[in-house]
Symmetry: C2
Subunit: 286 residues, 2 copies
């Protein structure tokens, strides 16, 4: 067993990032890219692991993107653990950590916004109207900076994955988008950097979300009316102890169009609910 | 002198375009890109000529982009001369003509818009509020499709050139943007595909625009108040025979910010005016 410490290249500017990636491409070596906001957990490391199967080299970015937070949200307190993250990435076999500053990403004079409809309509947008504009601009920038062959995103943020897939197709960004199944703890809770905000009692409640969604998905597949399943699942989450429920929704799995009844193509059930001041999201196939 | 007919490759899909460009890049040969709406005139051919100085290969696109026309504008009647254009491009030394269809560019489900401020504020936007959103989306797509090393745009559409330069920086599109000085006829009229709409009498009037701008630029450089120069130049154009004047404006040449007085860095004077149902624009350094 080789005990040598794995090495991790670092870049803080698009020029440095591109120089390394161009070198790999010049040697006909493929590159996979995993954009993150840091505070890495096993879900992120699963993305890096999958990235190693997709390409010869793996680049991970860590950037807590201010444009996807509203003024009242947790930009200031979002967990930042850069050196710990770097160690985890090196151990996971990531080749390069790209960590630009906010002023590198959004210099004075920045003048461009991206607005999405289609899969960005409803769900998260009803509750975080700024969110996908912020995601779209940062992902467009990061993908164009990295020039990777493939980029991986978790299915945990399922609407985000659909929005990014649409964005990349619409802007003709030459990077293939791959969604990776959600990593869960032993009791099915979707891993999230925001789980760090939860007390033990809140974690017990949070762990009921995935079971409620699995039961709802089974009911939808069995032909129960979608409206009833959505409403009853939301009510059950309140009984479980969630403070409030932003949505429980069954959608076309690709377009995220609302469904009046079950369809003979992939469906997805998505939910967002609050525990104290923490907002959790989860989803699964239906 | 070699009399063999020059050959011109053709592509209609992003995949075909990228295959050719990737082949050139694999051979370490650089690529320059000239996006156009066709109806080519000597101004476009000057762009191709300059492109040949910038890179080993030249790609020209012809696409009359519907998203940059408002409903009442001339999308339906915009001149389309594809086979004549192809002959001109081959003679000018262009290597590849890329002519996608509207449904290739904007397939069903297209869901992305780009909104610009900064250099997009005012001037054209005051009169064509849809215009730069349409330009931004099509240019982002075309540049990402072509993956060229450099792309060339005419200074005739000066505000557009500044908007595209900003867009490409903001989205980190890996293509260098080069502006090319406006090509003019023997009497100084800026070449434009829309000049084809003008009668002989209108052409006589149109040819006075560049002289008025040159005189205005000289006055600004000499220290005359900018407000007065703008107003008096607009009034002179009406006397010359223009039906109406959308704007005559002196701006910072890079940011296009309005100026209260002359500054010690590059300035630009820009104008838009109508002759019958035809709208002409022009600009020059001040």
């Amino acid at each position: 067993m080789d005990s040598a410490a794995p090495s991790l290249l670092r870049a803080a500017s698009p020029a440095d990032l591109r120089r390394v990636v161009a070198g790999w491409h010049a040697a006909a070596e493929t590159v996979a890219f995993v954009p993150t906001m840091g505070a890495l957990h096993d879900g992120h490391l699963r993305l890096v692991e999958q990235a190693r199967l997709e390409a010869r080299h793996v680049v991970t970015s860590i950037f807590v993107n201010p444009t996807q937070f509203a003024a009242h949200e947790d930009l200031g307190t979002y967990p930042r653990t850069l050196e710990r993250d770097a160690t985890l990435l090196a151990e996971a076999g990531c080749d390069l950590l790209y960590a630009p500053t906010a002023s590198t990403m959004y210099p004075a004079g920045f003048a461009t916004r991206i607005a999405m409809d289609g899969p960005a309509l409803g769900l998260e947008t009803d509750h975080r109207p700024h969110f996908f504009a912020g995601v779209a601009i940062v992902v467009a920038k990061l993908l164009n900076q990295a020039q990777a062959d493939v980029a991986l995103f978790g299915e945990k943020d399922y609407q985000q994955l659909r929005v990014i897939t649409r964005l990349v197709a619409d802007l003709d960004i030459p990077t293939r988008i791959v969604g990776v199944p959600t990593e869960r703890d032993g009791q099915g809770l979707a891993l999230s950097s925001r789980n760090a905000y939860l007390s033990e009692g809140e974690l017990d409640i949070a762990r009921r979300l995935n079971g409620r969604l699995a039961a709802a998905a089974a009911r939808v597949r069995a032909g129960d009316p979608i409206d009833a399943v959505e409403q009853e699942t939301g009510a059950a989450l309140l009984v479980d102890g969630f403070a409030s429920v932003d949505y429980v929704a069954v959608r076309d799995a690709e377009t995220l169009n609302p469904l009046k009844a079950a369809v003979d193509r992939p469906m997805r059930i998505l939910a967002a609910a609050w525990l104290g001041r923490t907002r959790l999201i989860d989803n699964m196939a239906a």
